[in-house]
């Protein structure tokens, strides 16, 4: 390695830019979370100070937990996300296997058809989706959201998973066939365990947009019983716009679970993006 490229000045400049941008990226989150733990007076007097013994207050969180049904919203989000994720992974992996493994008439065409949804957003069909959900009585149910998110997640999942399934060795599958395993067993017993890392990547990519979506909960399931946490936080903040403690606390409650999950899975996510996404 040439030392010229990595002079100290160079390296200091690099760190300076990265630190500056890291501060820009984290500052808003930081300000929101620290102020959520302060009294109203302290929020306005010294917005950038950390909460101390004098200014510490949980009054915002108390209001949020009293007024909004955040536990229920959280549960709705969790159910919708987990069930959609499961369906996307199961159906997506099955379809990806069929496309990657078998030669049949229309294979390429089917692949293209399923890939359409990567580029064309499902939101454009909202008018007809709502009419369909009204007609089938699914409005204001979690089922409606689960169906929509499953359809939304499938195209990308199939695309990524079929790339990975092409790499599974043919010898292994043929050995299984000689031993008399059915095609279903080959898929579930041999192939699925081998593409587990790809499944994890797809899971993260599918999960984030579902958890964060505002559009479909707003349109398909706005009732109190089916609100997701994203919609719940939006409505709550809209109502309590002048109660700064409550707004900051609600934002923090919405940020923290995602942040914790992200910090646990960030390595997986980043490895997924850097390995498969740009091929």
């Amino acid at each position: 390695m040439s030392t010229a490229r990595h002079s100290p000045a160079h390296s200091i400049a690099a760190h300076a830019i990265l630190i500056l941008y890291t501060v820009i990226a984290l500052f808003p989150v930081f300000v929101i979370v620290i102020n959520a733990f302060k009294s109203r007076k302290a929020i306005f007097r010294e917005p950038l100070a950390l909460p101390n013994a004098e200014s510490f207050s949980l009054v915002g969180f108390e209001t949020v937990l009293k007024q909004g049904d955040f536990l229920l919203y959280f549960q709705n989000s969790l159910i919708v996300t987990v069930v959609s994720l499961f369906l996307v992974l199961l159906c997506g992996a099955m379809a990806a296997f069929a496309l990657a493994e078998y030669r049949f008439k229309g294979n390429t065409l089917m692949g293209l058809y399923l890939a359409l949804g990567i580029m064309i957003p499902i939101r454009l069909g909202t008018v007809a989706i709502l009419q369909m959900m009204v007609a089938s009585g699914l409005v204001n149910t979690r089922t409606a959201l689960i169906l929509v998110y499953t359809a939304q997640g499938l195209p990308l999942a199939i695309f990524i998973l079929s790339e990975f399934m092409r790499q599974v060795s043919d010898d292994l599958k043929n050995a299984g066939r000689i031993d008399g395993l059915s095609e279903y067993r080959i898929f579930f017993r041999l192939v699925l365990p081998l593409v587990r890392p790809a499944m994890a990547t797809v899971a993260v990519f599918t999960m984030i947009p579902i958890w964060n979506d505002l559009w479909f909960p707003l349109i398909l399931a706005p009732s109190e019983e089916t609100k997701t946490i994203t919609l719940g936080a939006q409505v709550f903040i809209g109502q309590f716009v002048t109660n700064w403690n409550a707004v900051l606390a609600a934002l923090s409650l919405a940020i923290l679970p995602v942040l914790i999950l992200y910090l646990i899975f960030s390595r997986q996510l980043i490895r997924g993006i850097t390995s498969g996404a740009v091929k």
Binding site: M1, S2, R5, S11, A14, I17, L18, T22, I24, L26, P28, V29, V31, F44, P47, L48, C91, G92, M94, A95, Y102, F104, L114, L116, M119, I120, P121, I122, R123, L124, G125, T126, V127, A128, L147, T150, A151, P155, E183, Y184, F187, W211, N212, D213, L214, W215, A233, W244, V247, L251, I255, V258, Y262, S266, L269, I270, I273, S275, A277, V278
Partner: protein, 309 residues
């Protein structure tokens, strides 16, 4: 004939079984509604019956003074929203990725993880967090500007017609810069070392190396990012709705196609919702996205030279 039939390979039902669930859900929830939305845009509600009206809804949308002004305004705003993303988000993303990919950098994982954090948050959180920070009531932004002696520059940006849209676009850039950063970072990592070493032997280092060797090699990744940004921007809604409301204030200055479609479809205040006109806006968005994707697939992607290592 009979012989031929018996030698025909048996129908491989398992292929159908593997494909069926995904194809059924995808077709029923995504493709069919998309096409029936396109179809709805050609109908109109006359006395509670759907009547075929041809392109009348589009004539209303593009020409009727009540609608045309809103539609063209939303489209113009949407184009500006996209331009800000392309001019700010992608260069910052490329810069960060180029720095991150330099081989001797320490603490790389920390920076990567931290800079990606805004991307995992929802629009609602990002929008409100910035709304609070930029609020003149709270004074975080003016205080910060005061620290560098620029307090006089402070304006309630989200409340001013002239600045609101650009401010929102920059908030969206702040949130999503992680995606171009990661994709370009991945593309830079995939450049083989031999190539860079050969360049160094020829005396091409530093900035020259970036412009002459690396940039041409990451052009396909930049292409993918541009089209992802295009589709995302022309389909945006959440950020504007959660910070400025369905009316996309002040005075519609932040109205984009997504919010216009929502208002038209559901109605607001005194105006009744009109599903057919909403479908017409969705169709217009569909056509715009289709044109963008086609330009990318047939115009740009094919011309980009791809290098096989």
């Amino acid at each position: 004939m009979a012989v031929e039939q018996t030698t025909r390979p048996p129908i491989r039902w398992h292929i159908a079984v593997f494909l069926a669930p995904a194809v059924l859900i995808y077709t029923a929830i995504m493709i069919l509604p998309l096409f029936s939305t396109l179809q709805l845009s050609l109908f109109s509600d006359v006395g509670n019956r759907q009547v075929f009206v041809g392109f009348d809804n589009f004539r209303t949308l593009f020409g009727d003074p009540r609608w045309a002004e809103q539609f063209w305004n939303a489209l113009k705003n949407n184009v500006w929203f996209f331009i800000v993303h392309m001019l700010v988000q992608n260069p910052i993303g490329i810069l960060l990725a180029a720095i991150l990919s330099s081989p001797l950098l320490r603490m790389r994982a920390v920076y990567r993880t931290a800079i990606f954090i805004p991307t995992i948050l929802s629009f609602v959180i990002a929008g409100f967090a910035w709304k609070l920070i930029l609020s003149p009531l709270w004074g975080v932004a003016p205080n910060l500007l005061d620290l560098v002696g620029l307090k006089s520059l402070f304006q309630p940006w989200l409340g001013k017609e002239a600045y609101a849209l650009t401010t929102l676009a920059l908030i969206s850039v702040w949130q999503f810069v992680g995606i171009p950063m990661m994709l370009i970072y991945a593309a830079l990592l995939s450049i083989p070392d031999e190539l860079l070493e050969a360049a160094e032997c020829d005396g091409i280092t530093g900035m020259a190396q970036f412009w002459k060797i690396k940039l041409p090699l990451i052009l396909p990744a930049i292409g993918i990012i541009s089209i992802l940004t295009f589709v995302g921007n022309f389909n945006a809604f959440d950020l504007i709705y959660s910070t400025q409301g369905a009316l996309a204030g002040p005075d519609f200055s932040t109205d984009i196609l997504g919010t216009l479609m929502y208002r038209t479809f559901f109605g607001f205040q005194l105006q009744l919702g009109d599903p057919n006109l909403g479908a017409a806006i969705a169709t217009a968005m569909f056509v715009i996205i289709l044109i963008g994707v086609s330009i990318y697939l047939f115009g740009i992607q094919r011309r980009l030279r791809r290098y096989q290592f």
